[in-house]
């Protein structure tokens, strides 16, 4: 039976973090199912979903990384996932929208935007924020729940725009099979 684990790792950014982590996975017969790796500030952060046919525990997976942890000064956490937790849920394609919120940097942009989304039961698929100088940008891809129309979400967002004084654009994500 296949086992799945979420591995999160981070530490001061340096060359070779991904190579060292993936070497351990490769040599121990793990498959990399999904990943997100990014430099945040001066830290390099890694989130992986891996699978294996071996009957191995969280603690044993964690031990495999002991040397890498020491050599690169990383913190590594391992969590076992059930199979259904490891697979991405697939929302309906026609319910996916991109929202961009931007404006002068001020407290509450992320909180107020995500609070509105949470209150409306809108699920966040992906989110990044960038800050450069005084300009703050939040980019997110969301899935609308059944029963919530795009127009309704848009009018809510318009309210937010006036409330916190940012610009917001929101559009449906369409892909064309060519």
């Amino acid at each position: 039976m296949k086992k799945y684990f979420l591995i999160s790792a981070f530490g001061k950014d340096k060359v070779g973090i991904v190579a060292s982590l993936s070497k351990v996975l490769y040599e121990n017969g793990f498959n990399l199912e999904d990943s997100s790796m990014s430099k945040l500030g001066g830290e390099f952060t890694v989130m992986l979903v891996v699978s294996t046919d071996k009957n191995i525990s969280e603690g044993e997976v964690s031990k495999l990384f002991d040397e890498v942890k020491k050599n690169l000064g990383l913190q590594i956490y391992v969590k076992e996932l059930k199979e259904e937790e490891a697979k991405k849920e697939k929302p309906k394609e026609d319910s996916i929208y991109r929202i961009v919120v931007y404006g002068a940097d001020k407290p509450g942009i992320v909180y107020k935007t995500t609070k509105l989304l949470a209150d409306k039961n809108v699920s966040i698929l992906d989110m990044t924020t960038e800050k450069s100088g005084d300009l703050y940008i939040l980019l997110t891809e969301v899935a609308l729940p059944e029963g919530l129309s795009f127009n309704e979400l848009k009018s809510q967002i318009k309210g937010l725009q006036d409330e916190i004084g940012v610009d917001i654009s929101c559009e449906k994500i369409e892909s064309v099979e060519l």
């Binding site: 892909s175 064309v176 099979e177 060519l178």
Partner: protein, 169 residues
């Protein structure tokens, strides 16, 4: 009529460069009919290139007329284009593209917004026309197949590639 089988990546035949069409005779026209049928019976049904069905000749089929898209303002209906070349272009457009040959992914790809195309029509006569927006994107996507290029080759950043959120039923 039966649909032709569409090659899917990682089939190496998708990376082969196609040969110019010189003979516009009966065999060619029969093949084009099958290619048109295959295109119309695929999910979006707006474009297909001959090498996608393992015939490495420089022919593409495009029909943007039935597809609703905000940038689909003008189109030429069914186009059968052989040896197509873009002789002028202007502007930029980004559309999230998928591909019959790359089933599980979509990606944001930057293309020319306006293009002027020269090509041979079904009878081998040279035609020239210009187009913009959606139809221009479809032509550029299909033309890439003739040179072994997939939309994945055109993705500009890792954030521009997406795993398809819904698999086909």
């Amino acid at each position: 009529m039966e649909k032709l089988k569409i090659l899917t990546y990682p089939d190496p035949r998708l990376k082969k460069i196609s040969e110019p069409v010189k003979d516009f005779g009966k065999d060619f026209k029969e093949f084009v009919d099958k290619l048109i049928y295959t295109m119309y019976n695929s999910p979006a049904g707006v474009g297909i290139a001959a090498p996608q069905v393992n015939n490495h000749i420089q022919t593409i089929i495009v029909d943007a007329s039935n597809y609703k898209h905000k940038t689909n303002k003008k189109n030429h209906g069914l186009l059968v284009l052989s040896n197509p070349r873009i002789i002028a272009h202007d502007g930029e457009i980004i559309i999230r593209e998928g591909c019959l040959s790359v089933p599980d992914y979509t990606g944001n790809v930057k293309r020319h917004y306006w293009i002027k195309v020269e090509a041979e029509d079904i009878n081998g006569d040279t035609i020239t026309f210009d187009t913009e927006g959606f139809e221009a994107v479809v032509i550029q996507h299909e033309l890439d197949h003739l040179y072994g290029k997939l939309f994945i080759d055109r993705i500009s950043s890792p954030k521009d590639l997406f795993r398809r959120k819904v698999y086909k039923k």
